[in-house]
């Protein structure tokens, strides 16, 4: 029976989204209650799934009981469970924040939010490349709708760039998936991994063309140079609670890269193994550089945080490009840190913007904040954490990635990452001192204060800065286990295709 839980991270948000669409009362309380119940259930499920994968079991779930590769299959391994719990926790924080009133600023916030979670979780769980496309569509279109939440010219414009680029990329995803299907005759990722090991020379060219296009699509999702343009303004324009959930969207790209390029095009793929690494490496390094420049020169706090997102995805993708088991593990250690901290910083930035009146989040002299100490502390912790200054989470996560680099890669990665950190230090200390200290004596009287909901969400997210160092030992052990599982894709393939009974029994 346990295996039915594998569908829950997708089915539950969908159910609640439908119910929320039906709940049309003017007052938001009932929708909030429904969303709360949904999120709580998902949290319970996510934790259970994590426990289910602890011993290394790979759970599969055959939809419609069609045996793979013919039907669609969901696969829950350690990596999927890890990603699902991260997205669910993030979703819970965003919900908490939004329920303070942001959800009522436009239509159908909670329903769209549940759809968004459904898309993200689906992308993490699916074992089918076309199904992955479907979930990409869900999360893309839901995120676009959420980006437009509470309106405004800026949002509409940033949203347009975002959606058009992403839809165009989707069509290339289709072309790539179609080519893979046309060449290898299957869409199941495990089956692809098998088929790719014995291709003819002709097929190899086609598969490589498809795989590279697929990689480019993932890189666009991850916002890697030169496909990063959509990110800074779209993320900066998003309402706080939406920006929180956006923090994981780029990680969906990272996840897809990690999944596809370890499972299908990993070591066992022979001639076509590891062709992506060079691209990932170069793209990642270039993204860090541009991101750092953006952090350094942005005149606005939100845009600065968006560029910090670029730096962090660049770091992750460059580390993926190094292609060693250790660096994968370090990336997975880094992932929750950057996700939660960036999300928390967006919330802090929004609160700052509200309390400063017309100055908003621009880095200029202005009136005093209404909660200078609380916001100042949160900003300080978040900034140091994201820059990687001890004792916060970033220092461990970043250094862990750095220590996995060797040879010329170490020279590049260390140089670029450390320089970006320095630029970040200079600019964020400027931003912080200007916003918090270069202020008049009188505080503005308007602007929402952080209360237990909004402040609670921000504090919960930023507390990760201390929780990760505290629990670094078990966390790093877990990411190590995840990667050990990834490094042996044979188990995954066996779990999906193996002669094991057709219902979703577990394979050890």
């Amino acid at each position: 029976m346990m295996h039915h839980l594998v569908i829950a991270p997708i089915a539950l948000p969908m159910l609640f989204a439908c119910l929320l669409m039906l709940e049309r009362s003017v007052l938001p309380h009932r929708r909030r209650m429904l969303a709360l119940i949904g999120t709580t259930l998902q949290l319970v499920v996510a934790v259970t799934l994590l426990v289910m994968t602890r011993d290394g079991t790979i759970w599969t779930y055959q939809l419609g009981e069609w045996h793979p590769p013919f039907g669609i299959v969901l696969v829950l391994d350690r990596l999927a469970a890890y990603m699902v719990i991260i997205s669910t926790l993030l979703g819970a924080a965003a919900m908490l924040y939004a329920s303070n009133g942001q959800d009522a600023k436009g239509t159908n916030f909670h329903a769209l939010f549940q759809f968004q979670l459904m898309g993200i979780n689906g992308a993490f769980l699916t074992g089918d490349i076309f199904n992955l496309f479907v979930f990409f569509e869900i999360l893309l279109i839901a995120s676009y709708a959420l980006l437009l939440h509470s309106g405004g010219r800026k949002r509409t414009l940033a949203g347009m760039h975002y959606v058009i680029l992403n839809v165009a990329a989707s069509s290339f995803f289709l072309i790539a998936a179609g080519t893979l299907y046309g060449t290898l005759g299957t869409l199941n990722m495990a089956d692809l991994a098998v088929k790719v090991t014995h291709v003819t020379e002709r097929q190899q060219g086609l598969v490589e063309a498809a795989a590279l296009m697929l990689m480019a699509v993932f890189l666009l999702k991850t916002a890697i140079l030169p496909l990063h343009f959509w990110l800074p303004r779209a993320y900066a324009a998003a309402p706080g609670s939406v920006a929180v959930i956006f923090a994981i969207m780029t990680k969906v790209g990272v996840y897809s890269l990690l999944r596809v390029y370890t499972l299908i095009f990993g070591d066992q793929a022979g001639n076509i193994a590891h062709f992506a690494h060079q691209w990932l490496w170069c793209g990642g390094i270039a993204t860090i550089a541009v991101g750092a420049l953006g952090v350094f020169s942005s005149p606005d706090l939100r845009i600065q945080i968006s560029y910090l997102t670029l730096v962090s995805v660049g770091t992750m993708v460059a580390a993926l490009g190094m292609g060693s088991v250790d660096s994968y593990s370090a990336v997975l250690f880094y992932l929750p840190h950057t996700t939660f901290i960036t999300a928390g910083l967006y919330l802090v930035a929004e609160a700052i913007g509200r309390q400063r009146g017309r100055a908003g989040t621009r880095i200029v002299k202005s009136r005093r904040l209404r909660q200078p100490y609380l916001l100042g502390t949160l900003y300080f912790v978040g900034t140091l954490a994201i820059l990687g200054i001890p004792p916060f989470s970033g220092s461990i996560a970043k250094v862990m990635i750095l220590t996995t680099a060797h040879g010329y890669q170490a020279a590049w990665l260390w140089g670029v990452v450390l320089l970006s950190t320095l630029l970040g230090l200079v600019s964020m200390s400027r931003a912080g001192t200007t916003i918090f200290w270069r202020a008049g004596q009188d505080a503005s009287t308007r602007g929402a204060l952080l209360n237990w909901r909004t402040g609670g969400a921000a504090i919960a997210l930023l507390s990760v800065a201390l929780l990760i160092p505290l629990f670094a030992y078990p966390l790093s052990a877990f990411t190590h286990d995840i990667v050990a599982q990834l490094a042996a894709p044979g188990h995954y393939v066996e779990a999906v295709l193996g002669q094991a009974p057709s219902l979703g029994e577990a394979v050890q």
């Binding site: 029976m1 039915h4 089915a11 969908m14 439908c18 669409m21 039906l22 049309r24 779930y61 939809l63 419609g64 009981e65 069609w66 013919f70 669609i72 239509t107 759809f115 076309f130 479907v134 569509e137 869900i138 279109i141 709708a145 309106g151 760039h161 058009i164 165009a168 990329a169 080519t179 046309g182 060219g205 086609l206 598969v207 498809a210 590279l212 666009l220 496909l227 541009v290 420049l293 350094f296 020169s297 250790d326 250690f333 200054i389 001890p390 220092s395 461990i396 750095l402 220590t403 260390w414 450390l418 320095l422 200079v426 600019s427 200390s429 400027r430 001192t433 030992y473 790093s476 190590h480």
Partner: protein, 944 residues
């Protein structure tokens, strides 16, 4: 184990003042001092063991993956520095109680101070290089917070930022250096590293490691050319200056060099770089100290100078130089901290620390004057004070240097000159402030400071005298123990005596005193002639300007990269995709696969040509919307025909019904776009885009061709084989959609539903300009809804809905299905809207589209989830044949219910999108302005 408590207690201590913030000032100070006091007791307790020759260890694993462990060690060197940090720290806590203004936040100050103390203790006791770096950066952070304590002051903010940037940069260099060290040695454990000196020095990376290490150490210890941040850090409250910027933090770099001396030292690189840097820093600092008016500035530069002296000693490769360095660290901390505190008293009681306004303060504050005099004498190196002994050692060591060959005599000469400068600025400080002249225009009436404020200075002065007179008794054992981990044989044969007989160093000392006095007497000449040239540039402003310029530069670069134009973004993406696809294609031996081509059918050829013409014409007529749309529909039609020809009637049907719906959608949207489209693209750009489009098209077509001409062995066969037996449907396409890959369909209808919600979100607040004339300036017809069309539409509607239902119901076995049925139904409804207008239709067709979508999705979901009740997987289908009287054999499949969900969702979503757009396009209806067509609620209200 008590060892971690030394770090843990002050860490907890940083919370104490915050918790006790309601208390009065003195209790806060006392409570704060409690935990570091306990830590000091533990230190002394453990120190007794260390002095016996033990090295204490404590280790907990933290992140083994990166070699990070919570490992501490307590040896002689740690003991020495720990005593210094805790001892002076406690004195500073007492001092700060009286120094800080009642308006200043005591909890904040003490909290940050304790945080700093913790990190400093961490540096000196770490047994793991990564851990050491952690604490290293923490000192930078806490120093930033302390310098900017008076955050309202622009100087404090700028000084703090600069210090943070410089020491932060150094910290990052240090990190790189330590990581390299870890790579070479294979461990971050200090024990292992300390035993791998040979490996490190032999490594080809050694120079890089050394330079990065020195960058870290020099920035922290304010060595030339990174000294500029330290004077500006003096915007901090004086207790902070005394503690961080003279006694402890700036010694962290020195500590690091001493710590790693056994492994990194003893090379030419080490020797030259460090000695020269130290020498330059010593002179630069001494000179700058001479020309400062600000007393804290004077002390800051004298600190730089003394740090240079210590650095130089570390570089010198003689046996005793390291000992002298360690000893001077202690002595400097003692006398400089007391001087800072004394200057703080002057500042506090007189309201200024400008040496031009101060003078003759001896009469107003005799005790402070006496204390400052002793401390100043110690800094000048007067015998019987601690500064003298280490300076003598320094001079002795400079005489040993032979490495400059014939020019080696320069070093002792320069050392003497440096000492003379030290004497001169000590005289300036003490004599000018306390003895000569009269105070002028003081903001406050000067008076003696309260007794407890002087207490810390008194303790330090007693130490000055004790160490100065009985060195081996007071610090001999400590130094011995410290040296045992740095250079084991340094202490043998060395006595820390005050009197070594009349020898060359003593003569040099005497010469320095004399020379210093002469320089002091000539100070006016110095001021008038040199000061102007040296002080014109304010490092703060230079730094700020550099940052501003870099920001501007960064902005320009970013603008160059990011054009903020969607067209450019698309160009980049297309180009990248092209490169990716070509990468694979060029590796193929040939495009043509083993499968033979079919003969060309004239109909197919004609269709293909029509399709191409349609596409090209669309682009060509893009400025004439209607024509372009018609051309586009040619292509669409041809695609539908192509589907039909290649035996996929389902796709053809879908294409046929999608085409009109999209056409209406396009018409509705185009209505709002500017009537005239200007010709914006230049010829070159059009050419470029044309080439790119052609290239992408060619490459994608090639891929297609290659795929189609290859043997094909796919899972598709399974679907055709199992559609009837396994899923009970003859229409394989539909069975794939609702059964084999029903999960995809579930996802896609979700996408459709979300899209409708998104469109609603986008449009419901939008106010668009509604044009009243066409592009040719002809007004739109006032008659919106032609009567005949309206009547016919009303008659056709039920028939059309019947057709839709028919398509839907037969879908499982014949072309059709929920999607096609839904689109047909939607088309029929749209016809009603077009014929009768939004308002009219809405009043009669009270359908809440959002509810419709939700219901559709929910039906699909429930059908998918129902099997769970029977223990089957999500989406498992069920079908059976029934014999029903009159109707005959009938197959009932759960997939049909699922398809009903698809049907409803498609109708709801399509209608929601189109109706909302249509509403926008309906002009002159102020009554509807604030309403949205997401349901019939509003319509209901209107009916009433």
């Amino acid at each position: 184990m008590l060892l971690p408590l030394i770090i843990l207690l002050p860490l907890i201590g940083s919370l104490v003042p915050v918790l006790a913030r309601r208390a009065r000032r003195t209790p806060i100070a006392l409570l704060t001092a409690l935990l570091p006091g306990a830590a000091l007791a533990i230190t002394i307790w453990l120190g007794i063991q260390v002095l016996k020759g033990d090295i204490l260890h404590f280790a907990l694993p933290w992140v083994p993956q990166m070699g990070l462990a919570l490992a501490f060690r307590f040896d002689g060197l740690s003991l020495l520095f720990t005593l210094l940090i805790l001892g002076i720290g406690l004195l500073v806590i007492v001092y700060a109680r009286y120094y800080l203004d009642p308006k200043d936040s005591m909890p904040k100050f003490y909290g940050f101070l304790m945080l700093f103390m913790t990190s400093m203790l961490g540096i000196v006791t770490s047994d793991n290089l990564m851990l050491l770096w952690f604490f290293w950066e923490l000192t930078s952070v806490s120093s930033f917070l302390l310098i900017s304590f008076w955050s309202w002051s622009s100087n404090a903010r700028k000084g703090a930022r600069m210090a943070f940037a410089v020491t932060g940069a150094g910290g990052l260099c240090l990190l790189a250096s330590l990581m390299l060290m870890g790579h070479i040695v294979g461990s971050f454990s200090l024990d292992t590293v300390l035993h791998s000196g040979e490996t490190l020095r032999q490594s080809p990376l050694y120079p890089l490691v050394l330079i990065l290490l020195l960058l870290g150490a020099f920035t922290k210890s304010a060595q030339f050319p990174f000294q500029f941040w330290l004077p500006h850090a003096m915007s901090a409250p004086t207790p902070v200056s005394a503690y961080l910027h003279s006694a402890t933090m700036v010694k962290a770099g020195i500590f690091l060099l001493i710590r790693l001396y056994p492994v990194m030292g003893d090379t030419n690189g080490w020797y030259y770089i460090i000695t020269l840097t130290g020498l330059i820093t010593m002179f630069y600092g001494a000179y700058m100290a001479m020309v400062q008016y600000d007393l804290k500035g004077l002390l800051a530069y004298s600190t730089i100078s003394h740090l240079g002296l210590i650095t130089m000693l570390l570089g010198l490769d003689t046996r005793l130089s390291t000992l002298a360095a360690v000893f001077h660290v202690v002595n400097h901390a003692i006398f400089k901290a007391s001087l800072f505190m004394a200057v703080g008293i002057v500042d506090h009681e007189c309201g200024t620390r400008d040496s031009r306004r101060l003078g003759g303060l001896r009469r107003y504050m005799p005790y402070t004057a006496a204390l400052a005099t002793v401390a100043g004498a110690s800094m000048a190196g007067v015998p019987l004070l601690n500064g003298f002994i280490s300076k003598e050692m320094f001079l002795t060591e400079t005489l040993q240097i032979q490495s400059l060959g014939g020019l080696s005599w320069l070093i002792p000469a320069l050392a003497t000159l440096g000492s003379a400068l030290s004497v001169a600025y000590s005289l300036r400080l003490v004599v000018d402030v306390f003895y000569r002249g009269e105070p002028r225009f003081l903001p406050k009436q000067p008076h003696e400071a309260p007794r407890p404020m002087r207490l810390p200075i008194e303790i330090l002065i007693i130490l000055c005298l004790a160490v100065g007179m009985f060195p081996s008794f007071t610090v001999g054992a400590l130094l011995n123990s410290a040296m045992s981990v740095v250079a084991t044989d340094a202490m043998s044969g060395q006595s820390l005596a005050v009197w070594h007989g009349i020898n060359l160093p003593l003569m040099m000392s005497a010469a320095a005193m004399l020379l210093g006095l002469i320089i002091y007497l000539m100070r006016n000449i110095l001021h008038s002639s040199f000061r102007r040239d040296f002080l014109k540039t304010d490092a703060k402003l230079v730094f700020e300007r550099a940052v501003q310029k870099s920001i501007a530069f960064g902005e320009r670069v970013l603008d160059r990269i990011d054009s903020r134009s969607l067209q450019q973004y698309m160009l980049v993406m297309m180009t990248l995709m092209l490169i990716m696809a070509v990468q694979g294609l060029v590796k193929m031996p040939g495009l043509m696969g083993p499968v033979a081509l079919q003969p060309i059918d004239p109909f197919v050829l004609a269709g293909a040509i029509a399709m191409c013409i349609g596409a090209i014409a669309t682009v060509n007529f893009q400025r004439y919307r209607l024509i372009a749309l018609i051309c586009l529909s040619i292509t669409e039609l041809m695609v539908a025909l192509a589907f039909l020809k290649f035996s996929s009637p389902d796709l053809a049907l879908t294409q046929l019904v999608v085409a009109p719906v999209t056409l209406i959608l396009m018409l509705l949207t185009l209505f709002f776009l500017p009537q005239q489209t200007p010709r914006v693209s230049s010829g070159i750009r059009i050419l470029r885009d044309l080439v790119l489009a052609a290239a992408v098209g060619t490459v994608i077509a090639s891929i297609n061709f290659a795929v189609l001409t290859d043997h094909y062995d796919s899972i598709g066969k399974f679907f055709t084989d199992n559609a009837v037996s396994g899923a009970g449907g003859h229409n394989v396409v539909n069975v794939i959609l609702v059964d084999f890959r029903g999960f995809d369909t579930l996802g896609e209808i979700t996408v459709l539903g979300i899209t409708a919600l998104g469109v609603l979100k986008l449009l419901n607040r939008m106010k668009l300009f509604v044009p009243t004339t066409s592009a040719e300036n002809r007004p739109w017809a006032p008659e919106y809804f032609p009567t005949i069309f309206g009547s016919v539409a009303q008659i056709v509607l039920p028939l059309a809905l019947m057709v839709a239902f028919y398509f839907f119901i037969r879908g499982h076995n014949l072309p059709g299905g929920g999607f096609i049925g839904g689109l047909v139904a939607a088309s029929a409804l749209i016809m009603m809207y077009t014929a009768r207008g939004v308002e009219w239709t809405m009043r009669r067709l009270r359908i809440d589209f959002q509810r419709l979508i939700a219901t559709g999705l929910l039906i699909a979901w429930l059908t998918s989830a129902a099997p769970l009740l029977f223990g089957h997987n999500f989406l498992t289908t069920w079908f059976d044949h029934f014999d029903i009287p009159l109707i005959g054999s009938l197959e009932i499949a759960s997939a049909l219910v699922f398809d009903l969900g698809v049907f409803l969702t498609v109708v709801g979503a399509t209608m929601m999108i189109l109706a909302n757009l249509g509403r926008l396009a309906t002009p002159y209806s102020p009554a509807r302005e604030h309403r949205q067509i997401d349901g019939a609620m509003s319509a209901k209200k209107e009916m009433r």
